[in-house]
Amino acid sequence: MAEPVTVTINRRAVSAQPGEMLIKTAQDNGVYIPRFCWHPRMNPVGMCRMCLVEIETPRGPLMVTSCTTPVSDGMTVDTTNPTVKKAQEGVLEFLLINHPLDCPVCDRAGECPLQDQTMAYGPGESRFVEEKRHFEKPIPISELVMLDRERCILCARCTRFSEEISGDPLIEFQERGNYTEVNTFPDEPFRSYFSGNTVQICPVGALTATPYRFRARPWDLTFVESTCQHCSSGDRINLQSSQNRLLRILGVDSEPTNQGWLSDKCRFGFEYVASPARLTSPLVRDSEGELREASWGEALDYAARALGEVISSSGGRAVAGLGGARGTNEDAYAFSKFLRAAVGTNSVDCQMDDGLDPRLLSGVVDRARIADLESAGSILVWGPDLKEEHPTLYLRVRRAAQELGAGLVVVHPRATGLDDRASVKVTYRPGQGGQVLSELMDGAGRMAEAREVLSKGPVVALLGRPGYGESPDLAEATAAFVRSLPDARVMPLARRGNVFGALDMGLSPALLPGRAQRGTLAAQMLADRWGELPASSGRDCRGILEGLESGGIEALVLMGADPVRDVPDGELARRALGNAGVVVAIDQFLTDSSRMADVVFPAMGFSEVEGTVTNIEGRVLKVNRLTPGPGQSRPDWAILSDLAGRMGVDLGLVSAQQISGEIEELADIYRGVNWERLDWEDRDGIVVSGDLGYVPVFSHVASVDPRPGEMALHYARTMYDDGVMMRESPSLSPLAPGCAAHLHPSDAARLGVGEGDPVDVKSASGSLRAGVVIDPSVEPGVVYVPFNQPDTPSLGSVLGVVVES
């Protein structure tokens, strides 16, 4: 950090970092300068002139915009003298010339910076008697955003956001002078994954979000801070409700995670909470084989009896559990304790056969933090398209490459959202990952440039599974290689909201709460509290499904898991559930999986339970409750505790907060992490470190070719899909791209198909019919099919598929 300089603001000397803008220095020292266009997370433009202040210069006082004036030593500033006041009044009078003043019918009224600042700094009256300019009242610029150009004050916040931050400038100033307006290209809507941010930062009511328009007045809203659970970044959000109904989510500027931004999935993907399809009562399968409503007592007895029978005939190891990555740590802990202490099984997995080795995920040595991206010399992204699966992390990587000068190498089977910022982009055919890795390690030929970029430390590597055809060993082998790069840190990627918390709570066969491995001292301490731990080693998700299919496992407990839709090989999951003797589901909906259960318990979920979650870097954050759960729904932990009770085991769980205390006590690394701290002084979260120190193992990943006549399948997720939360959120569900087969133009020509023509894609475990998208970004011989789209069967984690017209 450079030497601070001294600036005098309103006769008070304050110190500031040189180069910092005056408006920020003033704000940090308690002097608020009104502004519209300046935003602390974007570059200044000096567009609105609201922030005028007077500084002393050798030639006398000078009026400057404080958002574009860097502080310098000895600067003297006045933000309140009569000249400044007059300027502020003038600017506001100008800004209001064309503003329609339709506050009574404007959503922004009550929380509108233009309204507030006019009250505080504006003139009482306008001298403008001429005709204001007129535009068609709000026009939709996308499925989610409406634009009222009459209200716009042309501050360029929205256009700057989409260019500087999200990198999809689909809105821009059009025309000139008095005719200037924000707009899209006539037939290119503002279809950005991040469009909702522009609504949040628009200082007037020009941009409004379709899902929230006319739903509430700001003064009617109750709110609480919480953490988003759509992906594992741990984005801080503000939940807002009226009359017990969740109505809006805003991003909270939390330095370590989302820095104020949210994806539209985080922002609008809450409507499912109030869906009429939510389960409100327990269900049990009756003698006709139909699920019918039952009382809690009946359902608990039913489930306890069914599980008890399996345990007494075949032992606890014949029972398995799946799920837990969507809820809180407290619920995950209860699930872990239930399965291990009440049932007696280690067969539990919170990943859906789509992830990485849990030891790598939560225990890798030199694990990266998100903040490491800020100081990275270079970044390697080899995994899912971050824009689709880790949207706010995508913004952080984008920022690092675009604003902070980090080199960026992206390796992926097709175009990704980061390509335009990548110093080197490597596109390859799925199955060839091993080959690409060894080329990268040699650093010869076409990889020379990539190695050159990655020679600049510190290196941050974000590694995950690019698609489901690819072996999970690839990410681990890459992690092992990355350790040879300068100051390298690794961030293994897994996407589900609280998958890292669930792993920390032991929802994986080999892990116990607190990242303890079975057979260690920590495990012994746990056994002292939990009672004897199951001795046999457990199975992971795939093992569990195969066990259910073959009969080695007889009963399954699902907690917020939908393996039929969520496991790449959905057909395997369907067969497994069909073959299971007993399936007990704790869920918010009847999903394709819980529909196959014998007992279904209605669960409370997001915005209905309080607890903690752990994000991708091991940061523990608080989630809070704002709305009541529907009907008779209950929190996961309470259901599990009652179920164990009916099975004759007292888990000793009395409340989520008590469980949090138990975690603190038993999981060494969670010591000192408690709700009080997270609610108050540590709202940005507390990173739990104390890694397993797991050193990734390098293994040679063989390159696999599809068989003759087959094409290599790239099977990967998109932001919007047919997961139950998206399906039950009416604003987002139409945005799923739908079933499609992306083909290289040469393959399309070979097959004789054009854009939109149907083709059949057949794999060993399923087949589907999809419309062709001509996609020059995939390699020849590759077909990209988005995973889990509406009305689409799954293809499985296979490499080769046959594509026929």
Binding site: L170, D187, E188, E755
Partner: protein, 219 residues
Amino acid sequence: MVEIRSPSVRRGWSESVRARASEIVKQYPDPRSAVMPLLYLAMAEEGYLTDNGMREVAGAVGLTPAQVRAVASFYTMYKRENPGRYLISCCTSISCMLLGSDEVLGAIEDESDVAAGETDPEGLISVEHVECIGACGGAPAVTVNYELIEGMTTEKARELVRWLRAARPEAIVGAECQELFGGRRSFDWGPFDRDSALGPYPAFGPLGTVSGPAGEQDG
């Protein structure tokens, strides 16, 4: 790179126009700097700037169509509506105005029967008034298809309109028009050379000279 999927397959530029576009892009260190000359190319191609043309320009320079339209709609010389075959632009900024541009414009409107901002029903002549075209020394000035004529008078303006109607020239060449209709020039333009005159739009070599298109002659 922005992910934009065209909802349908659209009519695009021909290969030869794309080739010219990439020639122009190569002249700049950063492709997006080529947006303005390419907009002229798009105009030359279709007679005016269509959505299609702007989309092609966006593709060629790596911007989104919205960004390209932002540039195109800022400058009045990019026409987004089909002008007549001859576009007469009469400067009405200060120098020209002091030396009688209002009368010149009036004469043009009267002779052509086309009001400023409009095109005749035949699609032959469009008339507009424009801000300073940088020819103040030769005020009052007009351009025809962006080719400059300085030292205009009302009589000459009428003659010009009549000539356009009658002669219907293939290409407008400033030097020739100046000879026929112009008066005092701002400075000596030097001898006229067809092979270096860059019509039909100014200043962009790859678009071709008055003698023909740049590079290979394409139909």
